[in-house]
Amino acid sequence: MVDVKGSAKTGMTVTVLYFAALRERIGRETQELAIPPEGLVVSALLARLGAADARAASALAEEPRLRVAVNHALCTMDDLVRPGDEVAVFPPMTGG
């Protein structure tokens, strides 16, 4: 299932954002990641991020309680990410 609007805008990529300790350990705030036109589940996307970058691999592995949001909504490891989506990866939230 192809998100035509997303793929047209982004060329089959997603924008990945890192926050807080994860952002610091990985050493960057954001990156573009190519994904298949039909999309990818969150767990597979995280594996690709780790495969592409050793610092990301160790940072993601060291955070026992990763949180992922797709287009500003928290999601599970089994949710589908499609081209054009904004994916944020971060440690548990500590507001208030």
């Binding site: 954002l17 926050f19 807080a20 300790a21 309680r65 949001a69 500003h72 909504a73 944020a88 971060f90 440690p91 548990p92 939230m93 500590t94 507001g95 208030g96």
Partner: protein, 155 residues
């Protein structure tokens, strides 16, 4: 007054004005019998100098707006306010303002607890502590905060 006007949500670096926010809530309706407020501030101790609050612009506002809407329905509020500051805040400075206005005290007080419990673990904020001597550390999520937030799941 439509309920949408009765919800006020903000993420900001600037301080908030408790008197102004109180006035906004208490003036919402002549049916208001009680206003409950909670103000969180940077707690000192162990050489803590400051907190720096980071957030996820775009998502934060949506989560806070949804949380406020949920509280309006669940506690039959006349209005509620959520203000969260970001940036560097020193010991004693205010971080978060939660307010609820209702016909009766019980719902106003419960809504305030609900809102701050959910805001702690459900909105994309993160805190970095700075200590005397210069060391810094990210605040770790606490199991008791998760428990407080999920206690509201089963009504």
């Amino acid at each position: 007054m439509p309920k949408a006007q009765a919800v006020h949500v903000a993420v900001q670096e600037a301080p908030f004005d408790v008197a102004e926010e109180m006035e906004r809530l208490s003036a919402l309706s002549m049916l208001a019998g009680g206003v409950s407020l909670f103000i969180g501030q940077v707690r000192g101790g162990d050489g803590l100098i400051s907190l720096t609050l980071e957030h996820y612009p775009g998502m934060t506002e949506k989560v806070m707006q949804a949380l406020a809407g949920e509280a309006m329905e669940r506690f039959d509020l006349l209005g509620c306010t959520l203000i969260h500051r970001v940036g560097r805040l020193e010991v004693g400075q205010q971080i978060v303002f939660v307010g609820a206005c209702a016909a009766h005290r019980g719902t106003a007080l419960s809504a305030t607890s609900f809102l701050i419990d959910r805001l702690k673990t459900g909105a994309p904020f993160w805190k970095k502590e700075e200590y005397a001597g210069g060391s810094t550390t990210w605040v770790q999520a606490r199991a008791e905060d998760d428990a407080a937030a999920s206690a509201w799941d089963s009504p």
